[in-house]
Symmetry: C3
Subunit: 375 residues, 3 copies
Amino acid sequence: MKSKTAATCGVTLALLCSGASARSSVTIFGVMDLSVMHSKGGNASARTISSSGLGASQFGFRGTEDLGGGLSAGFWLESGLNPDTGSGQLTNTNNQPNGFTGGGSLTFNRRSYVSLSGAFGQLRMGRDFVPTHYNIFEFDPFNANGVARAAAFTFSTVGTGNLPTTVVASNSISYWLPPDLGGLYGMAMLARGENASNTGNASDGNMVSGRLGWRSGPFDVAGALGRTHYTSTATLGDYTHGNLGASWEAGFVRFFALYNLAKVQILGGDVRKHTSEIGAHIPLGQVGRLRLSYARLNDRSSSVLRNANGSQRSSNDARLWGIGYVHNLSKRTALYGTYARIANQGQATYLVSGGVAPSPGRQSSGLELGMRHAF
Amino acid sequence: MKSKTAATCGVTLALLCSGASARSSVTIFGVMDLSVMHSKGGNASARTISSSGLGASQFGFRGTEDLGGGLSAGFWLESGLNPDTGSGQLTNTNNQPNGFTGGGSLTFNRRSYVSLSGAFGQLRMGRDFVPTHYNIFEFDPFNANGVARAAAFTFSTVGTGNLPTTVVASNSISYWLPPDLGGLYGMAMLARGENASNTGNASDGNMVSGRLGWRSGPFDVAGALGRTHYTSTATLGDYTHGNLGASWEAGFVRFFALYNLAKVQILGGDVRKHTSEIGAHIPLGQVGRLRLSYARLNDRSSSVLRNANGSQRSSNDARLWGIGYVHNLSKRTALYGTYARIANQGQATYLVSGGVAPSPGRQSSGLELGMRHAF
Amino acid sequence: MKSKTAATCGVTLALLCSGASARSSVTIFGVMDLSVMHSKGGNASARTISSSGLGASQFGFRGTEDLGGGLSAGFWLESGLNPDTGSGQLTNTNNQPNGFTGGGSLTFNRRSYVSLSGAFGQLRMGRDFVPTHYNIFEFDPFNANGVARAAAFTFSTVGTGNLPTTVVASNSISYWLPPDLGGLYGMAMLARGENASNTGNASDGNMVSGRLGWRSGPFDVAGALGRTHYTSTATLGDYTHGNLGASWEAGFVRFFALYNLAKVQILGGDVRKHTSEIGAHIPLGQVGRLRLSYARLNDRSSSVLRNANGSQRSSNDARLWGIGYVHNLSKRTALYGTYARIANQGQATYLVSGGVAPSPGRQSSGLELGMRHAF
């Protein structure tokens, strides 16, 4: 995602609207991240040009207006990009599987909200990342991007592959705590599926979620929990996602730990995935950084879920190793290389992000060599 | 639509093109308007995050270039937004029902034209609002936006629900009178369906339309008329739309009146809708404004048109009441609340914009509480 | 395309990113080109509003960052526009016929790349024009735009009508020679279809191509060659395109010559088209320019390719005459008129760009009167 990188850059423009405060502005920002990728899945392989290996390729506009009296209004429009092909990404209109829309063109699928801020904190209305994603972004050593992202474990296969609210939610209102609470931070979000009350699935796509964290000196720890309602079917049902993350800046190295539990209550059983991840950032010289990660998936889905060959899903665990190096040419531009490997057990077929699908139980791996340019 | 609001704001940039005049510029502009909405349709209801309750959410670029000698060139690119979901809006390629395109992503569906201006007035080529829409936008007290817009009466059901030229037309040329004619203003527009001469529906999508108005002191009055040709079928046919609007600024209150007649000559009959609307804006203090509206639909469609139960369409009238309050936090940002209710008669099923569909003859209502931020 | 025009304009903005060099910038640019068009195809005709008669309508963002030490990073995002309707253009995700995407909305279909430049030249990664297209753009007197573009001969009918890599390629890496080589210039490009190695068409969409030219005083000459692999079917197969172009600035007139050979090896035969083109630009006064072009298509497709009536394809040659006048109102804005006529032989049905399809062997013609505004 790398929205944090982008947030520190951007072309910021004074608003010439008559009567507008001198402290009002609009910013154009973006990230272009492309890499040469070589991936393997079992015996198959592919050489591709890949996107978003270090930071999520994106393009957007945001602005703030000083309303006086400590109040300010703002907006954020952020479009995901696939710069290897010039195409855009899908958004979702109703937080339900039938609401995906976009057809390969540009949408503001990442963020699209208006905000009102003051001493009370911030209120946002529109489309925004869900609380659990903010946690993954912060505490995954690979910031939820590239071949070494562990989120593939959490968000793949039955019941979670097609869930619209794993990363972003539409039709949402959220409240963010003010920044000066002695290290305490957090947010709460409500999102609506917008079905009429007289339909069979009136509550589908309704989400309740929140995040609470505490930052002090070198320590940062946060937990998030969200629940989206779906009427149970063979592939869908109430979706609950909780995670807990922490990081410790030890000077010569920054350590990360992240635990995710994603559960989908499908008809007659549930999908239940525990993913544990640890990692580190090690500065190398003035402009280099080594990134390391190890993640382990424990699939405790109920026995009603079986593989194609009749064996139980619950034996289908997997492990991920990731190593990467980032070389900063400037604050905005970096070269990077990342290698990741997934070892699948049982009938598992997890693959590195953007990789080639392996046969059940076979390995998946990927190497990315790329450049990220933020503006 | 609130393009007027946007037109007074925007980030205006000097063009650094060598040789460009100092009076040339490009402007980035937009409106983000989101609200919490509760709507009812008969016994059903829905709670949603809605868009464009006060001003049409949009995003665009426009610019002008001083060519010297009183001439100037310009362009306008304006994309409609659904910021509750980050999606875009459809445009239409040929002014015919089969020409809608966009797939939920961004298009410059609202305006996309190049212009040449001088003492003679202005010529525009491309996609632009039709003359009758400019009239509705000016003389509807709710500016054709939100639950209280009366346009739902004019543009719903058989023959008009899927018409591409009710609001915007593609493939158009228009001429605008110069601004200094002692209060007289107006425009004329031609648009093409672009079918080849040897096809059965060669003229489908061709439009001729115009608008003429007069502004003097507190009075403003304008009429517009447009006709789009379509070969008659059971749901489509020549579409004629005329309207007449007026406003009177009486100091403590501004009064509005608007009359619309929309007619579609379908096979063996016609759809004919008369909508009369009156309303007012009442300033409350320095930053508040109360908005009121009452509209009445008289459906005089020919007897060949019958409801599902065999009764005649012509008894299916409806009425709309709207009340709203706008609280300006600044020139660019406002909070607002709007309530509207539609009483359907006979088999009519009209609903407030963005609301829940009622059963025939049942009421529809909606309440929006939102924020509009222009940039 | 007219990217050259756009490249000299645009709104260039200093980056306020802390730490960014003073020589870093982001530029907003675009071209809006619309015309009134009257076209004929045999007995049929159409009057339309057309786009891109003089320069390709487009909209984009680009930027560079000075990294120090002679290095610089850059990005380019360029979206094709249809401003007559506000719609966008398709891009392609895998350089194969099944990869077209976009649905009528905005994509960065023209260019989407990140670059790194230095004394060594420039490296680009992403989506960009193919080498043969750069040659056509330079040496077609009508810059590959409008009714008089000869590219319709090269890129129409069996095997080439649906090829994704005729103009732009996705998933590409390219290397550009540095600008100071005594007139020598050139580039090489690799693009990937991104199919996995264990699929039947593993190499489909893989492209290798290059361009080499030499510029000296009034002379400019360049050749380009590209090959994209496709498994042979009845309509598709390995696609080879070579061209050679030259121009000579003789003071009172600039002469152009361009030769194209496009070949597609379909199952059991091949499509083989030779297009020869000559033309001239003649300055008229300070702001005018006359443009002339004559092109001849020699269709040498193998005898296995037959027309609907059983006759051989190889007799289906065609000729194109084009004449146009450009009147510059400023550096950014021009009025223009172009007339072109195609004489089809045998069963050929070539048509002027945007025109009405003629019956086999009948003429096609088109007249455009338009305005191009760059920003």
